[in-house]
Amino acid sequence: MIHSSFADRNLHRLFPLPAMIFVALLMVFPVLYTLFLSFTNWNLTSGQPPAFVGLRSYMRVLSEPRFLEALGRTFAFTFFAVAIEAVIGVATALILNRSFVGKSVAKTLLLLPLVATPVAVGIVFNLFYDPTIGLANFVLTSLGLPPALWVSHASTVIPALILVDVWQWTPMITLIVLAGLAGLSEEPVEAARIDGASEWQIIRFVTLPMVMPVILTAVILRLIDALKTFDIIFAMTGGGPGYASETLNIMGFKYSFEYFRMGQAAVILVALFVVVFCCSLLIMKLREKSEA
């Protein structure tokens, strides 16, 4: 007997349907609504319904110095954070890529920052950075250097925040690259060794090119999240001092939930989405190239 009930014949439609409806309602519809709001200058506190103003909110926001600075800051934060994480993360993976006593303990330790609540991490680093009681200044003064204001000064706040991001997320790159290295075949390395290549040459010309697609995937994952970094910045500085650590995500949050200027907030959110999308595409293109 051939079983061919309605449910079975349409399983490929029925099984994904609930999830699709959910995503359509909770993601697609809200995003379209955001897009609609970006063509209005709606203020939630005004009591007026949204009025269509064409591209006026775009022109207003995109020409605002505060927006342009937030955009540049978002790029700078992401670029330096992810670059440092990639370099340290890959280096650490190459170092740990051998069997040694305590390897599984080391891997467990690497997991801890990844699962630590970012808000709480931010608060712990705030204690480090505290200008009067913090450990960071204790280290500086012990080394005979002048104390710094860390997250309390416009010139040091972004590097100080990058350091937190690097501490928390470098292990993710390390773990991904370690898993990638474990999957490589030994042969090319052995062949290079027989040909008399030095350890450094083997890493540079054999191992790294082979593991490059994995590295770039790890970088994409980090990049997407770094562009959207919110928790640590919001908890540690709230975007301050002044606007000195305000990224697009923080600025969008403030326009939405502090000023309630939904029209302009929507423009910022659209801009953030475009940035995340374009950066992801760019790295994916790079990744295709490295595989070719």
Partner: protein, 275 residues
């Protein structure tokens, strides 16, 4: 000969030194948080910073006594458990369908939720949930956390189902079982490791989420990250209390990670490695 043994020893010593330095860098913030949570305010603001002090439990007593911490703990747990549970209900069949019928576009559609900045849904949610009278409700919070959990479930489980040979359900179907029956009774029980990975990871991400709860929850449904953050808004920062709260919020996620270590590593590195 002895020279090479000598260099080998040096490299081994150097190697372990590097490993220990890495371990210390990773662990230090946790250790400082833990030790500060047992310090009095006087010991915390002492200069130079104190390494040796008489430990006290007063910070924990204050956090669990004065604040409604137990309620926030329950809120975080309820939101996380229900959001992950519902995401499994929606996500497992979808992931199976993606894996078996090669529905790449569907996969991209659901994974977009992982790519999109959360705030681009949060702002409209705020407006919609206010209209519906759902602010500060478990419903709104759970729905929002499902959008965190569902892409993780689909991402992990569609790769997992793809590793199970289709012969398994096909032979069952030859014997007269429906594909549905085969999925629930044959494939799902075989997928326990994948489900553990997806459940652990999505629960941790829900547990740690700050932005959605900060906007959608108020007094009644406040979750732990918000409670910890609110500690900071007092006029003078109660560092001991904050650190005790930080320990309390991180402990469950860390314990889960330790217990399901193997699965967490797999989940975090999955996809990236598969290529």
């Amino acid at each position: 000969m002895s020279a090479t043994i000598g260099t080998k020893k040096t490299t081994t010593v150097l190697f372990y030194t590097i490993v220990i330095v890495i371990a210390l860098i990773v662990l230090f913030p946790f250790l400082w948080m833990l030790s500060s949570s047992f310090k009095t305010q006087v010991d915390i603001i002492a200069w130079p910073p104190k390494l040796i002090f008489t430990p006290t439990l007063q910070n924990y007593e204050r956090v669990f006594g004065e604040q409604d911490f137990l309620q926030y703990f329950i809120n975080s747990t309820v939101v996380g458990v229900v959001a992950v549970g519902l995401s499994l209900v929606l996500g497992l069949p979808a992931a199976y369908s993606i894996a078996r019928f090669k529905q790449q576009r569907l996969a991209v559609f659901i994974l977009l939720a992982r790519l999109m900045p959360g705030i681009s849904f949060l702002m409209p949610w705020y407006i919609i949930f206010s209209r519906l009278g759902l602010m500060d409700s478990y419903t709104a919070l759970i729905l929002s956390h499902m959008l965190i959990a569902l892409p993780i479930v689909v991402w992990i489980m569609s790769s997992y189902f793809a590793t199970i040979p289709p012969d398994l359900e096909e032979s069952a179907m030859v014997d007269g079982a429906t594909r549905q029956y085969a999925f629930w009774k044959i494939i799902l029980p075989l997928s326990a490791p994948g489900i553990i990975t997806a459940t652990t990871l999505s629960f941790i991400f829900s547990w740690n989420n700050f932005m959605f709860s900060q906007v959608l929850s108020m007094e009644k449904t406040k979750t732990l990250p918000i409670a910890v953050y609110n500690f900071l808004s007092y006029a003078e920062v109660d560092w001991g209390g904050v650190m005790a709260a930080a320990v309390a919020i991180m402990a469950p996620a860390i314990v889960l990670t330790m217990v399901f270590q193997k699965y967490v590593v797999k989940g975090l590195t999955m996809g990236a490695v598969k290529g």
